[in-house]
Every structure is written in C-alpha cells, then in structure tokens.
C-alpha cells in the first residue's frame, strides 16, 4: 500500500505532529512499507478468535473505589510546567 502525501499530512494532523518538508516523503515510504509488512496478519485465520484483552488469561483491569487518595500537590507538579500564573497552566488564547 502506498500512502499519499495527503494521507501522511492527515495522520500527522490527527497525531498533532508538525512535520517538515523533508520528513514527509521519508514517512510516506516507511509507513507504506510497515503497513505492507503488518498486512501479513491477513494470512492468519481468526474468524472464531476472541481478541486478547489482557495478557494474563482470566484477569482484567482492577478497579478501585472512587475516593480521593492523593493530597493536593499542584504547586510541586507545576514546577515542570512551561508557563503558569496564579496556579493555572497558560496556553495561547483559544477564543478570540
């Protein structure tokens, strides 16, 4: 399968990735080849097979009670933030 330039641009937009001009043909080529490669899966007969939901048979994701277990530590977490003011994360204006 050969992915078009437009297809790569659309995937990149879905994934919110800015690509430069040089990257687009490289990903066109490698993603096309990888999709051909994973196309091998069509060889397997899977009509009556249940998709695997968990690597350990019979186990599923554990749930916990919906109660607060963490103390408020937003100041500590925001030490890693690119831009904060008054305890809020700053981003460019969303609504004009």
């Amino acid at each position: 399968m050969a992915l078009t330039r437009a297809a790569i641009e659309s995937i990149a937009q879905l994934a919110r990735l800015e690509l430069n001009e040089a990257e687009i043909p490289v990903y066109q080529d490698s993603l096309s080849r990888i999709l051909d490669f994973v196309g091998e899966l069509d060889r397997a007969a899977t009509n009556d097979v249940t998709p695997m939901a968990h690597p350990l048979a019979g186990l599923s994701q554990r749930l916990r009670a919906d109660v607060v277990t963490e103390a408020d530590a937003h100041a500590r977490y925001q030490e890693n933030a690119p831009q904060v003011a008054a305890g809020l994360y700053l981003v460019p204006k969303v609504i004009e």
Binding site: R16, V38, A44, P92
Partner: protein
C-alpha cells in the same frame, strides 16, 4: 581482587561483613563511570553527590548491624523510571528538563532496601528502538566493540553492566528491550511476567506489553534484585496480587528431569549459523545436566513481529498523547495558537522513530482501519498466546536464541525500520503472551557475545532463574569482561 570484578551477591556479602564500605564501593564505581563515560555514553545522568550521601547512610545501617540483602549496593536506573529530584528524560528531548515530583514504585522499593543509586542509564527514546541509536543523547557503544550497537532499548543498562560500571541496572522490556541488549552485551537480562513488577512511575510506551525488570551479571544477581523489585502495587492497575517467592532461595536446584522445549520457529532462516552453534552447544550442556529436550512448534510465532507493530504503536500513540507542551515537557517557542503549540511542541520534542510509531498507531486506530489492523492483531495475539499455552502443556520451559545475530554496526540498520524491527523476532512472543523470559550469555561469535533465551509459563521466574543459574555454575561466559574495561 578488584571490586568491580565481584558479583552483586559477593558485594552485598562483603558489605555486610565490612570487608569494604559502601562509600568505598560507590567511589570505586563512580570513578569507573567517569572513566568510561565518554567512550560508551551509557549514562544520561550521574548522581555523584546523592550517591555518596546514600552510601554514607548505608554504612551507618551496616555498622549498626541492620544490613539487609542489598544495603549499600550501588546500581543504576534506566532513565525511564521516575526519580524525584533527579531528572528523568526517557532518552527524549521532550523530557530533557523534566524532574519528576515523585518516585516510581520500583525506585522507592530499591531506595527502601538501602541501595545506592549511581545514575540513570541511556536508552532509545521512549524505549522505542533495538540499537540505542534513537536516544536524544546519542548512541550507546557496545563495550565489546565500540563501533557496534549495544542493542536496545535498555542499551545503556546493558553496556553499563557489561563494562562493570554498575553491578546491576533496572531495565524495561516491551518487545525485547531487556533481553536483546543483554544478549548483545554478554550480560544477564530478566523480563518478568506482565504484572510482576509495578509500572507506576515507569514512563509508559505500550501498556499491555511493558514490564520492568533487571540487567545484571548473573541469574543469581538478577534474583536478588527481583526479590526487591517485584510485588503487588495498588497504584498500578495491571499489577498482579500474588505472593513474591524468595527468588534467591529458589536457586541451586538440579535441572535433572527438566523438560526443555526447543521452539522450531526460533531456528529459522534468519538465525546466524554461528549463533545457532552456540545455542546448540548450550542445549547440549543442559542435556548433560539431566534435562530432556523436545522439539515444539509455535505455528503463529512468525506473525509476532507484525502483530507487535500494530499493538505497540497503537498503544504508544495513545500514551504519548499526554506530551502536549502544556503541563510538562518541551514547549515550542512563540506558539501562534493552541494547534500550533501542540503540533510544534510534539514535532520538535519527539525524534524520528517516536514520530513514526505515533503515526502508525494513529493510522491503525483511525476510523475505518481499527478492525482491519488493531482488532485483527489482538486476535492473532490470542493465537500466539495459545501456542505458548499448548507448548507449556508438554514442557517446563522453552529455550532458543535471544537474537538472530550478534551486535551489528552503529548506523547499519537506521535507514530500514523493518530490518531493525526484525531484531526482536525471538523476543516479542514473550511480551505478546505476558511471559517471563531471561537472556544469559552462552558463548561468543568471534569477539561478540551470544545470548541464550529461556521462556517460562506465567510467574515461573524462580524456575527460569534456577535453570539459568544451573548453566552459569557450569560456564564462565557471564564472567568475561570486555577488553578496555578490565
């Protein structure tokens, strides 16, 4: 005898018997790290001051007679485990400035055990790679030949242990990232059962496959580390609540009567002839020790790499959505609007291979393609897991090569992702089925080490460690030290 030549088990005993102090041992290893840092590039961060402070504290415990199994033992973390106060980069520009506000559970457990953290090891960016060439901090070099790759993604951990810069290091394995670099560097790498070791604070790549483990000099040393790292963690919803055996105490049993399955599909056309010879010699040794060999077939195993390259990118595209330039991590300069902030922060922060996998994952999960790719792969994954179950109905564990070839040249496979992905052809099956597996050094091809892989049923870490230990009592491959590191 120089301290770095001792095993972790010997070092722990020496510390408890006060033959040397933790401060002496820590200084010894820090000077080795400094001496080899430029040559191997195995570390992203080295914690000189904090390490010596931990060593002082450990010496006080030891002096008071309160030394435990690992008190005062130096080691390193793969830079994927969050360490409060010491930056955690995951090998990415995205997290170049990230200092975690909390410790991963594995980090906390090893800290509580009195160990001494020397630093954080280099790795493929977000653990996506099989050669350690995708790291933002540059390629790690193989200590056996610095023109070659150490394997990946835990290449820094494997190279550091091989060069005796640390006696052990943590690592993670999503498709072979513990076992493959362990094989290429001539060290022992254990990937535990999915859910055995907590993933809380271990930066996520593919959540249904990721598992933390250890790279060490021997199975005995790996058992000592696993005994501390393993266990239920309520903070990880995939952690399994089952008791942790005393792994070191399970070693030393005879392997007479052990039923070993030889996986037919592991001995395919891609296996290097000399690699194969080393594997056959190792199997012959197991026979001599009383094990019986039986050929088994896992007919769907050849589909494990294509299955993985749907499931893992799909999960990574979701997990890496959190890196948006807003709350932490890289932010682009002067964003025009929110879309531009997301797109440029991610475009600049992620390297080429990470972007490739995010895009594959985005594609296979997108409307109209989900059934054809993701659902199909999860069904084939079920078939592969069933092949393993059927095999374990006949034998106790499986053995075969860890990798098709010994280490390859830096740069040799970077332009061809599929060739690179096929490095993990023998390791990915265990991840898809959630099984524990270990790679141990089993000889050389020329100057380069070869790895033998042992795969067991769920939660059989004790049995595969014992079988590996039985082999290491009869051989000295795991004691060989690369030239230039002795």
């Amino acid at each position: 005898m120089s301290l770095y030549k001792k095993s972790l088990a010997e070092l722990a005993t020496g510390l408890r018997e006060r033959e040397f102090s933790s401060v002496e041992l820590t200084q010894h290893y820090l000077s080795r790290i400094d001496a080899h840092a430029g040559r191997l590039n195995a570390f992203i961060s080295v914690a000189h001051t904090a390490a010596l402070a931990s060593a002082h504290a450990a010496d006080q415990e030891l002096a008071a007679g309160r030394g435990r199994a690992l008190t005062g033992v130096p080691f390193a973390h793969k830079d994927i485990f969050c360490t409060a106060g010491l930056r955690t980069t995951c090998g990415s520009r995205m997290l170049d400035n990230f200092v975690s506000p909390y410790d991963a559970t594995v980090v906390a457990k090893l800290k509580d055990a009195g160990t001494v953290l020397l630093g954080k090891t280099n790795m493929d960016e977000f653990a996506m790679g099989s050669s350690n060439e995708t790291s933002y901090y540059g390629a790690v070099k193989n200590p056996w030949n610095t023109k070659l790759v150490p394997g990946g993604s835990s290449g820094g951990s494997a190279a550091a242990v091989a060069a005796r810069l640390v006696p052990a290091a943590t690592a993670t394995d999503t498709g072979g990232s513990i076992r493959q670099p362990a094989a290429l560097c001539g060290v022992t790498g254990l990937k535990p059962t999915y859910g055995r070791v907590s993933r809380y604070g271990m930066i996520a790549f593919a959540s249904s496959l990721d598992q933390g483990g250890v790279i060490a000099g021997s199975a005995e040393d790996a058992a000592l580390m696993l005994a501390v790292m393993a266990g239920f963690d309520p903070r990880d919803s995939t952690s399994v609540d089952t008791p942790v055996p005393d792994y070191p105490a399970l070693l030393g049993k005879s392997v007479a009567g052990l039923r070993v399955g030889i996986v037919k599909e592991f001995f395919d056309a891609g296996l290097d002839a000399q690699n194969q010879r080393r594997i056959e010699e190792s199997l012959a040794l197991y026979t001599k020790l009383g094990a019986t060999l039986k050929e088994v077939s896992l007919p769907n195993l050849p589909l494990s790499v294509p299955t993985y390259y749907v499931v893992a990118p799909a999960e990574c595209s979701s997990n890496l959505a959190r890196f948006d330039g807003v709350r932490f991590g890289h932010r682009c300069k002067e964003p025009r609007d929110l879309q531009d902030l997301y797109r440029r922060s991610r475009g600049e922060g992620f390297g080429a291979e990470v972007k490739r996998r995010i895009m594959i994952g985005t594609y296979v999960l997108s409307a109209g393609y989900y059934d054809a790719y993701y659902l199909k792969a999860q069904k084939v994954r079920q078939l592969i897991a069933k092949d393993f179950r059927d095999a374990f109905a006949q034998v106790d564990m499986l053995m075969g090569p860890t990798t098709p070839t010994p280490a390859f040249a830096i740069g040799a496979k970077m332009d061809d992702p599929i060739t690179m992905y096929l490095n993990d052809i023998y390791t990915i099956g265990a991840n898809l089925a959630g099984l524990p597996a270990i790679s141990i050094p089993c000889g050389f091809v020329g100057e380069l080490p070869v790895g033998l892989q042992l795969v067991g049923p769920h939660f059989s870490e004790g049995a595969i460690l014992n079988a590996a230990h039985a082999y290491q009592r009869e051989t000295d491959w795991h004691r060989r030290i690369p030239q230039g590191c002795a």
